[in-house]
């Protein structure tokens, strides 16, 4: 866990660039060089596999314009792939979570003890 965070926060994307503030990816995407964008996009895509679908969501929202709207540039095809894959992963997660939440909410009361043990907070006054 810790190693993952360490990697995510500190690894710089490109050696060619001068070392800057490691948290600079909060900066405006427009001002980054293209290879930096690709590296960021890749980082978010990979990190999403650590059961973090929100990173994929961020990736899709953030890089959608870069991947599909902007005029073509060298790294764009790769960014496109990452954004697409992130989107697919996101969809998969949404489907799984929606199904599970629907099932859980619907059957929690019926499951009795099991339903209670699976719950974090149990609503008051209803089964």
């Amino acid at each position: 866990m810790f190693l993952f965070f360490f990697w995510f926060c500190t690894e710089t994307c490109s050696d060619s660039l001068p070392q800057q503030d490691p948290l600079r990816f909060v900066m405006n995407l427009e001002r980054l060089p293209n290879e930096e964008k690709l590296c960021l996009c890749r980082k978010y895509y990979l990190a999403g596999f650590a059961l973090l679908p929100f990173l994929w969501l961020v990736n899709v929202v953030w890089f959608f314009r870069e991947a599909f709207v902007k005029p073509a540039y060298t790294e764009q095809s790769q960014i496109k792939t990452y954004v697409k894959r992130s989107g697919m992963g996101l969809l998969f997660w949404v489907a799984v979570l929606t199904t599970w939440i629907t099932i859980f909410q619907h059957f929690r009361a019926e499951w009795g003890a099991m339903g209670d043990y699976l719950s974090f907070t149990i609503p008051l006054g209803i089964p």
Partner: protein, 701 residues
């Protein structure tokens, strides 16, 4: 310079204060809070939930005062402004009305019952027709012919409302100014004149009584144990409290289990009652009449058991929670079986239980016995002896003991739990031959008025306390009979019987204390000073309640028992409170209970003169064994739990029509959107709009 600025601050503070006050009064202008709100609450057992509840934010409904049962149509179908909050006068609080409201509950927001100031002429019992049907001794295996009240329906007037589940709140209102305000509000705003729609604004009421627990005891006890969340909330608590017990001979309470050479006659009574609403359970006939008679009997026996002790010990027991499947008695029997009590079942010689004895119309007292255990000859002989003793005890008394038909089973009684364990000989004293005499069994009308505990007008509370009522005299006779019978049953000499007489003065004072007000000068003398705050100017609530809250009658009965059967000992306050006679005494605590009571105020003094009372009046746990065994679906023991709830309250206010509400909301949203749009436009065109002002700063930038 200083002076004016100070002035400003003062002005500002005054303004703030005025604003604060205004806020308060706006709330007061909108809402009228109900002062006296007694609610029906949710209880759960192994299989069911009963009682009432509101939604999370309280149920709101337009007030409708129900005038007759035909008028229900307005609430259930024709009225144009559902849901309705139905105000019932008590004659309409019947099963048929309530069940109709329950089935149409989508149009019913709640019910408020106006409790009358005098008892109704008819009968009302919200209890079941066969109380404690499944937890007594008469199961299918014991005798199929007697199970489920097959032979005798004990409470034929019972309508079972207390055991129904309602998904709306039901409150009780006192018939006073509050209720008058509600009625007036209804008349002014909601009353349909000549069948026309009542016009807005309408008078509405909101009732909050959110119950946490749901489904059944197993579910809520499980949820109590799940502590995942950040602030885990308990959802329910087992019903229970303490039994009170005392013995004529001190029993070592530290050494539990069987006592060699000990033989005890159990004299039992029940301490609790209930009604539809949890906060009012006067239980005059169902509880108070019995335990007051037994307390008076114990008092009558105090001296004679010291001077001419009988062979056997008399074990006085006051069971708590009997209304809910015999919580107290089942626990004591369980403790006796498991050597957790001062004696065990082998030590029990026989049982004499005092049931409902407050309403004897024709001086008869009925001796109920169990026909099944009497099929055994030796048990039958013991029972016959006990009946003979009771008859002997009645000589020269105005009470005539009578025996109902031999095939009739026992009425609902704690003795049944002893019989469940083994065939112990015993008799239950009641004022009814078969079905209950009581018209108000386990209802809020089972009060002082119903027992005819009434006083001539213009008496001060002190005079009322001393006034010997006719009911007290009648109950004294019963107490004398019980005392003499117990003495004979314990093996005492027949010649002593004439010396055993219950004191009508004590009985009337106890009736006053338990039925009119606990805060009286006599009770004040008999209790420790730290219990003073519990005394009130109302009769105590006999509902057993959750385990955590100590029940007031239990403690009062313990103090009374201690004072009426114990003796005053010359011990310092410190030693008394440490349960010892002197500094080196380590043994007495096993045998006795010491209480430092505050005593009376002597004339020409203001300081009470406390003293130490030594007695055997102890408490023992009255919590169903099901909760110790964690068998929440138990069929043998009581599984009743009480849900926890958010504060219960109610208020009335005027509501505007739905259209007006929507219009107000619409205008609000419109204003918001317009302002957003305006802001956007202004910020987008800022350079044009504010160009002249901006230019110099732009230049420097």
């Amino acid at each position: 310079m200083d002076l004016p600025s100070n002035k400003w601050i003062v002005h500002l503070l005054v303004c703030c204060f005025v604003v604060g006050v205004n806020c308060n009064s706006v709330d007061k202008k909108i809402y009228v809070k109900l002062n006296y709100t007694v609610s029906c609450v949710r209880l759960l057992n192994a299989t069911h939930q009963i009682g009432c509840q509101s939604s999370l934010s309280g149920n709101v409904g337009v007030l409708h005062v129900l005038e007759s049962e035909d008028n229900l149509d307005w609430v259930l179908s024709s009225g144009p402004n559902p849901p309705y909050m139905v105000i019932l006068e008590s004659p309409l609080f019947t099963r048929s009305v309530m069940m109709k409201l329950k089935s149409g509950s989508s149009r019913v927001a709640g019910v408020a019952v106006v409790a009358p100031n005098t008892n109704p002429a008819g009968a009302f019992s919200p209890h079941t027709t066969c109380p404690n049907e499944n937890s007594g001794v008469y199961s299918e295996t014991y005798d199929p012919a007697m199970a489920n009240c097959n032979k005798t329906v004990w409470n034929p007037l019972g309508n079972g409302l207390s055991y129904e589940e309602f998904d709306f709140p039901i409150f009780s209102l006192k018939d006073d100014n509050d209720t008058q305000v509600i009625r007036q509000c209804y008349l002014d705003h909601n009353r349909a004149v000549n069948g026309s729609r009542p016009r807005y604004p309408l008078c509405a009421m909101q009732l909050y009584s959110l119950m946490f627990a749901v489904t059944d005891t197993a579910t809520c006890m499980r949820r109590n144990d799940i502590n995942l969340s950040i602030n885990p909330e308990m959802v329910c608590d087992p019903l229970g409290d303490y039994n009170v017990w005392a013995s004529t001979r001190p029993l070592n309470n530290t050494a539990k289990g069987h006592k060699m050479w000990e033989s005890a006659v159990v004299a039992a009574a029940r301490l609790d009652s209930r009604s539809f609403f949890f906060d009012i359970a006067p239980g005059a006939q169902s509880g108070v009449s019995g335990f007051v008679a037994l307390l008076a009997a114990a008092h009558a026996l105090r001296d004679v058991v010291q001077e001419a002790p009988p062979n056997r010990t008399i074990l006085y027991t006051f069971f708590q929670g009997e209304t809910f499947d015999y919580i107290g008695s089942s626990r004591m029997v369980y403790d006796m079986e498991n050597n957790q009590f001062a004696v065990d079942l082998d030590n029990i010689h026989s049982v004499l239980e005092v049931g409902q004895v407050g309403l004897r119309n024709d001086s008869k007292l009925w001796l109920h016995t169990d026909p099944v255990s009497r099929r055994n000859d030796s048990v039958n002989k013991e029972v016959e002896d006990l009946i003979a003793n009771l008859r002997l005890a009645a000589t020269n008394l105005s009470v005539t003991p009578e025996v109902p038909t031999a095939s009739q089973p026992l009425p609902p009684s704690s003795f049944q739990r002893f019989l469940r364990a083994r065939p112990i000989p015993g008799v239950v004293l009641e004022d009814h031959q078969s079905a209950f005499t009581s018209r108000f069994y386990e209802s809020m009308y089972d009060n002082a008025e119903y027992l005819n505990v009434s006083y001539p007008p213009n008496l001060t509370p002190e005079e009322q306390l001393r006034f010997v009522t006719e009911s007290a005299k009648a109950l004294t006779e019963v107490a004398t009979l019980v005392a003499r019978a117990l003495y004979r049953q314990a093996g005492g000499a027949e010649t002593q019987l004439v010396n055993i007489n219950a004191d009508s003065q004590t009985v009337t004072q106890m009736l006053y204390g338990f039925l009119v007000r606990t805060n009286n000068s006599w009770f004040q003398q008999l209790i420790p000073s730290d219990f003073m705050s519990h005394l009130t100017n109302r009769p105590p609530n006999l509902y057993v309640g959750a385990v955590q809250q100590s029940s007031e009658p239990t403690v009062l009965v313990q103090f009374l028992m201690a004072n009426l059967t114990g003796s005053t000992v010359n011990v310092t306050q410190e030693n008394c409170q440490n349960q010892r006679e002197d500094e080196n005494d380590k043994e007495s605590r096993h045998m006795y209970i010491y209480m430092w009571v505050q005593g009376a105020v002597p004339p020409n003094s203001t300081q009470r003169q406390g003293f130490c009372v030594r007695s055997t009046a102890r408490l023992s746990k009255a919590v169903s064994p099901a909760f110790d065994l964690r068998e929440f679906t138990s069929k043998d023991y009581s599984t009743w739990t009480e849900s926890r709830w958010k504060p219960i309250s109610g208020r009335i206010f005027l509501v505007a029509s739905h259209e007006l509400e929507m219009l107000t909301l619409g205008v609000g949203v419109g204003v918001l959107l317009t302002s957003l749009l305006l802001t956007y436009v202004i910020s987008a065109k800022a350079d044009i709009l504010f160009s002249s002002g901006r230019e110099p700063t732009n230049a420097t930038y």
